[in-house]
Symmetry: D2
Subunit: 336 residues, 4 copies
């Protein structure tokens, strides 16, 4: 049984990881930590786990952690994460990091978008950006997984087949997305106080969202050359799930049959990418590790629609998928 610790256990990605681990036949949560003022029985923080999970959230003790766990899901925010990860690695633990700290290989881009100095560039170089459907071959041997962001996972799975084949203009891609409110985290604030976001809808971070360079990095890796993306996120009044609506210019005429075949070839063997053959919706992927994708053409453009659950395939589910890979388990274990 793989013993899993969660650092930063009071947020939504942590509760979602716990929900998945409860059904995982070969892994279980053994140690949960948070800031001292947030500690207490897990059922006080997440009452859905009553009678299911008898753990305390405790302040982190490194010795205890390395005694109790084989792998750490590091659910801290950026900046905090890179303060802990080196210690975890030094203690011989495998680390799956949910933050942005080990995602962007270019330190300058990281520092520009996150407005903080990177303090662990050493480990950054060896971290594996682990989006299994695109970079599976790099994941197996590693002990430092950088778990991709929700928007980048959603967008890149939608775009990768076209980018890899050079079927779209790599310099003119618009990724328009919407996310449910769980994507904003568990900490309350004015913008996501119920009466302010209920019956509301808005765009944010125009031209400045931190997932934009991450999407570009992924697609550039896939293409083997630089890709330029305008990424524009929105939020809508529901809890879970996201949809990317992607607009790109084809480099040549593309038929629906050709698109269907391209996506079927790319994702046919993939358990977690589904091809509904029509516009995917958010509700059928909610609570699952699936990403539903459909590509078509309209008015001379390629339009790709891609939907996933931001907390599952966009975070905790993908993390467990990566955990399965690095421990040599069946990749879908506990995730169906």
């Amino acid at each position: 049984m793989i013993r899993v610790a969660i650092i930063g256990a009071t947020g939504y990605t942590a509760s979602e990881s716990l929900r998945i681990l409860l059904r995982h036949p070969q892994a279980q949560a053994t140690y949960l930590t948070a800031l001292p003022e947030e500690c207490g029985p897990i059922v006080k923080i997440f009452p859905e786990f009553r009678d299911r999970l008898d753990l305390e959230v405790e302040p982190l003790e490194l010795a205890k952690l390395s005694d109790l766990a084989d792998v750490v899901l590091c659910c801290l925010p950026h900046k905090a994460s890179m303060g802990f990860v080196p210690k975890l690695l030094d203690a011989g633990l495998k680390v799956i990091d949910f933050s942005a700290d080990y995602r962007l290989r270019d330190v300058a881009v990281y520092e520009q978008y996150y407005q903080v100095k990177h303090t662990d560039t050493k480990n950054l170089q060896r971290a594996v950006f682990a989006l299994p459907e695109l970079f599976r071959e790099k994941i197996a041997g590693t002990d430092l997984i950088s778990n991709p962001g929700c928007y980048p996972t959603c967008s890149s799975l939608g775009l990768a087949p076209l980018v890899r084949e050079g079927l779209i203009d790599l310099q003119d891609i618009v990724v328009n997305t919407v996310s449910g409110i769980s994507g904003a985290g568990r900490k309350p604030g004015q913008a996501f106080h119920f009466p302010e976001i209920n019956e509301n809808y808005f765009a944010y971070a125009v031209g400045t969202h931190r997932h934009m360079p991450e999407i570009e990095q992924i697609l550039s890796d896939v293409a083997g050359k630089p890709v330029n993306v305008l990424f524009q996120p929105h939020v809508a009044p529901y809890t879970r799930g996201m949809l990317a609506t992607i607009y790109a210019n084809p480099t040549r005429s593309l038929s629906q049959a050709e698109l269907d075949e391209l996506y079927a070839e790319t994702y046919g063997p993939e358990v977690f990418v589904r091809l509904p053959g029509c516009p995917p919706q958010v509700l059928p992927v909610a609570g699952t590790n699936f990403c539903d994708v459909w590509a078509t053409t309209a008015k001379g453009k390629v339009v790709v629609l891609s939907a996933l659950d931001n907390l599952v395939k966009g975070a905790a589910g993908q993390a467990i998928q990566n955990m399965n890979i690095i421990f040599g388990l069946e990749e879908a274990m506990g995730l169906l």
Copy 2:
């Protein structure tokens, strides 16, 4: 033109008052105040007022207030309110207080439920508890209006006809209510962070809600003798409006025709109490100053259903209704 100041202008009861005043032909907002850290242009706080309302929210200056306003809507929380009201009255202003500080005549009950010492018992004695449909005759001459709570307004309008006529057992009344989330105010917190309350529903303050003694005071005044109520509130995931479902034991057999006639007689002349003749719903009263009421019998009990918008008839609308009364205007002015 009546000049209206709002103290505590950054909450939902304030924004609702402003929304109503924008359509009021004989009153207008002239001065808005808040704590220094919350101040700024009103359109930054409530963007719906862009191009409609060109006011700054400023720290309170008493001299400026008495220069600029004839009446003050005091939208502060309890305890804060009784710190300001004496000064406002001394400055010669009329005051409509939204807080609980001047609602409960019995200081001991106030101090028990609100866990704070009452510091303005002098004005408490002369404040008028202004639920117009029940106590209209006391309102006209006053300069200190205590604006009733949302739950008490909703419940009491539903029960008053039965209580006044002695048609129910006054010692065994259950008032089960639900409110939208705007009733919890504009300040964000964990419980009403969107992902925590969306798709959720719960009861709270079992046996301890502060509106329970207020309901009992109103109904005791109506009955001329003590009334005992078990009041149980709940919250549901929508923004505006509340429903009271009231269970009482009739003192004699009551026909539907008799109930209909009783309510028609009581509320026939009232502009703001409507009798739909079937179970009222929350949506048709949302955004209005109406309270929709229906009484019936079932399994030997009287069941009364009463619906209103907690921010309008339960707060800002009733305040403007009271303002109209004390200034001798048509009671419904600006409210239809």
Copy 3:
């Protein structure tokens, strides 16, 4: 592997049953039927099952059914159900019926509340009303399970300990409930068209709801004498889950410790009844087979709060729990 057929496979209780069966280690869906005009691939009807479930929904053929299935989940509405059940039993199948047709032992009460003649009184007499936590000993040997209603399950689990011990007045019980909209079924109609129920809340079926006699039958069985309940349902704008807020008069003074002990004794051994020790909420039971219960006293009354997911413990989950019992499996199999 137990082979499960679902009749009436296009509704929410069917999709929820399928969702549970996908994780059940010893049962699987093998045959799905519906009216001819509703038939087609299950993924067209419920797109969440894409790549998970490769079944067609077909018009019912009895021979095929008895070839392919060991047990039938009969997800038909009342009246339709009693037309099929005798044939299913005759074909040697075990039947778990979700409708009301086999719930009320008193045919006259059934015919009064459902306004239809009962056409299968023979099987009605031997059907087992299967609420495991209250009537487990009767379930094991049967081949005709009448699966309880959602409101009755929620209310009765909350009240049973008090009723069994005679701690409340059995003639004066008010059960006030709220349900999410999935409880109204999958067929669209005006009342639950999104813009009509979103931001709305209302009471319905005042004094006439069909689950009222079912609740009374359960509690009378528990008490060993007649129980009288006023049951009042409401709907709120969310999808899943219900809360019962129950008001009763204690027959003697009850302390919180005594109540806590009573419920702990009653439900301690039960996997699916949880005792949070505070007001339960709907969200922590959503998607689970748990019923969370808390009892307290307030203003001279006993107040019981009981929450469950109407589609799981209130329908499909309880059905699978019952299936596990009649097939001698661990009762919680596939349900955690």
Copy 4:
């Protein structure tokens, strides 16, 4: 007092028109019609009008209509509308048509997108497409107003300044929009049954939405030459309001100051277009006739955000605005 009839009085655009007319000082609803099976007291259909509006919805009688009304709001769907409009005009009434039947000047485009033969091409030629902020000078004298669609109003107000000045490539414009569910009308169906759309989000009508040629017609009129738009709508789980997120390629470098100035010049005199100077949101325009617009640049593209209430500025409010114009009233009368 202008007397207003509404044909097709049982839908949301009709109820919204009635809500506005109740506050209009110089117009009132006098005659409401619908299909015979939908007729009855307006308060049975829209309970929010209880005690406000004492009208029956009746089957249309042309003689009665021309006796009782000066102007008709024709709230019928496309195809139905062009069957009635000629008769209304012949009866000497002014007509404001909410349908698509008189919007597209090119009959072939209409017949392609609406899949029905146009039967009133005579009146089509003289109908005025009445988006006041863009085509005000054509509206005053007419008796046949074609009221624009919600998406076209929202998108065109956002794009018009750029298109008029030739600041963007007119052949490569993406208009990505989201609408609340009221935009789908009041008739219930599977897709907008509460449990199916709550917690859901999706794109629809990829490359085929009927508002696409309408947007292109408006912008081509503004530009004086053909404009090509890829329009992609989505729905989100809230009731009212829409947001357009528009992506275009600037023909030359544009500074924020230049964009701000352009929009301020264009819309400065307009009552109903507001410039918040930051991304507009849906909630602040809900229930109002405002369209909030902001333009900026990002990653080499122009991004325009435009928000309005689909039922008000996108339908009923704009209709009343047009009514005010053709009757020589102040344009904003009853709309603030």
